[in-house]
Amino acid sequence: MSAREPLLSVTGLTKHFPVREGLVVEREVGRVRAVDDVSFTIGHGETLGLVGESGCGKSTTGRLVLRLIEATGGSVSFEGRDVLALPPAELRALRGAMQIVFQDPYGALDPRMTVEDIITEPLAIQGGHSGPQLAQEARRLLDVVGLASAHARRYPHEFSGGQRQRIGIARAIAPKPKFIVCDEAVSALDVSVQAQIVNLLQDLQQEMGLSYLFIAHDLAVVKHISDRVAVMYLGHVVEIAGKRDLYADPRHPYTQALLDAVPVRHPRLRRKRARLTGEIPSPLDPPPGCRFHRRCPLAQAVCSAERPLLREILPGHQVACHFAETTGKSPVTGPKP
């Protein structure tokens, strides 16, 4: 990342979903702390991978950044503008610059609209384009994402999963965005098709200078596509680093467990591993202190008492663990940065 201001700065982002009970008189009986005090930046043309298991808050984070749902707290700065505070008209104007590609391309495409109408809808909403201009633009976009322009008049059900994801991508790039949230965008695809879509996303990034927040649970795909990677656990970011550092020298015990759980590449590499025991606790009542401490092999008394904050222990490598200096391959010495 250059010394330039990052394209996107997320600070202290928080989302609590109230849990209500009572048929006549509703009252709040608890809060699901889906996203809690999450901070990260994404540079121009950069891909930040966001990984974690079901319920860790990664998809909610993506929606909060785009303000598809309203945050409980924190701020999102996009090109210096405070996204969470923008009035509706300005937010609408900004929407073209910030787009999203969803996991399930079928659920995300209106079955009664032609492909042409689907992918040019963002432009039609922006206004200023004639019908023929939109039709021409649709054909150009189809070509860019690797579909035949003859497909423009067809409906989503006529396409395979991979082709539908290309349509979803065409719609996302139509308003010439700078930033796209890819929310499990390749997770539902067969592996040979997944590789095609990953390559397409990388080509578009090159050509258009796009930045991605690439949300996925597949650590190998994230490693392939990302420049930096953030790991979430139970609403918190527990580690962020450049991808080589994160995969070669993970410092948070949860990141270590996550990487250790990835299947081996070859049958000869099978080994007995110390597996993470237990399951992710409920975000309704997260453990105090470090949210990982009850499953952590290294936990000490301090871990249940005090929440470890995300701090930089090596250049560009942030970890939220009280013992991050000693958890890696080589201990970090010298004064704490």
Binding site: Q163, S192, A195, N199, A220, P263
Partner: protein, 329 residues
């Protein structure tokens, strides 16, 4: 290899559809020895799950046409009555599916469901069956098993539900377990726990397993031998290590190269161009030929036979030897 426990020969399954008869599985053969783990790997539409359903006799007879032979412990399952099949299914062949929530009955406690399986197949009183159910839940790593017996499926997490499914499938000590995408819906740390569990149980009980997956990682972790399915046919079959060392079918090579875990660190992933052919109008010869970099004119002329390329290693490719050598076409 000792005498196989299960031998599937020329299995063919066709379904009626709007486009006419669709041959989802086209003369597929594979065998599993006692105590062996066979991995069947393939993408959507490869016929891997349909083959498993055929072995279990679970295909809708009105909508499908099944031919070939499925020999299990010397009996041809395709010739058995439904009544006889019911004594095999669940007792001598256990099965677990991808979605434990849809395979468990939501209105019965998990204990009742395991007990019912045991009582159905064995002359065992309910109390003894209940004790067996506790032992099974304990064996699959459900904490405080006795207390969880009265839980309903919705009270359990996805990983725990899959453990219950495994307990139920193994309650009558089957000789063979069919596991169809057993970890696909689960997170990676839970997947790792379950693969460890399945491997431990398989070794302890000495049962054979057929694990069906789209994930080469599951194969690398678990399978002794592998059959690679493509568009309703077996493309390649090999001992697991040989498959990863010397993939001898262009589809297997493509599958490995497009899997990020398996690929070398590169800027671009290798892809397989195009998409799966329509099974209603499949290509005339090799079904992979339209997507294959190695294809020659002869590939369109006839179906390439599975031919041996090494010890227990066969490939249905006319150019298997060159493909195994790895020189690019």
């Amino acid at each position: 290899m000792s005498a196989p426990l299960l031998t599937v020969t020329d299995l063919t399954v066709a379904f009626r559809s709007d486009e006419g008869m669709v041959t989802a599985v086209d003369r597929v053969s594979f065998a599993v020895a006692p105590g062996e783990v066979l991995g069947i790997v393939g993408e959507s539409g490869s016929g891997k799950s349909v083959s498993a359903l055929a072995v279990m006799g679970l295909l809708d007879k009105a909508a499908s046409r099944v031919s070939g032979e499925i020999l299990f412990e010397g009996e041809n399952l395709l010739a058995l009555s439904e009544k006889r099949m019911r004594t095999i299914r669940g007792r001598r062949i256990g099965m677990i599916f991808q979605e434990p929530m849809t395979s468990l009955n939501p209105v019965f406690s998990i204990g009742d469901q395991i007990v019912e399986t045991i009582v159905h197949h064995e002359r065992l009183g309910r109390q003894a069956a209940r004790e067996r159910a506790v032992a099974m839940l304990d064996k699959v790593g459900i904490p405080s098993a006795r207390r969880r017996l009265d839980d309903y499926p919705h009270q359990l997490s996805g990983g725990m539900r899959q453990r219950v499914m495994i307990a139920m499938a193994l309650a009558c000590s089957p000789k063979l377990l069919l596991a169809d995408e057993p970890t696909t819906a689960l997170d990676v740390t839970i997947q790792a726990q379950l693969l460890d569990l399945l491997r431990d149980l398989q070794a302890e009980l000495g049962m054979a397993v057929v694990v069906i997956t789209h994930n080469m990682g599951v194969i690398a972790e678990f399978a002794d031998r592998v059959s690679v399915f493509y568009a309703g046919r077996v493309a390649e079959t090999a001992p697991a290590e040989a498959l990863f060392d010397r993939p001898s079918h262009p589809y297997t090579r493509g599958l490995l190269a497009s899997t990020p875990e398996m690929a070398e660190e590169t800027d671009r992933l290798r892809t397989i161009p195009g998409t799966l052919p329509s099974l209603a109008k499949p290509p005339p010869g090799c079904r992979f030929a339209p997507r294959c970099d190695w294809a020659v004119a002869l590939c369109d002329a006839r179906r390439p036979p599975l031919e041996m390329v090494g010890e227990g290693h066969a490939s249905a490719c006319l150019r298997a030897a060159e493909v195994a050598g790895g020189t690019v076409a």
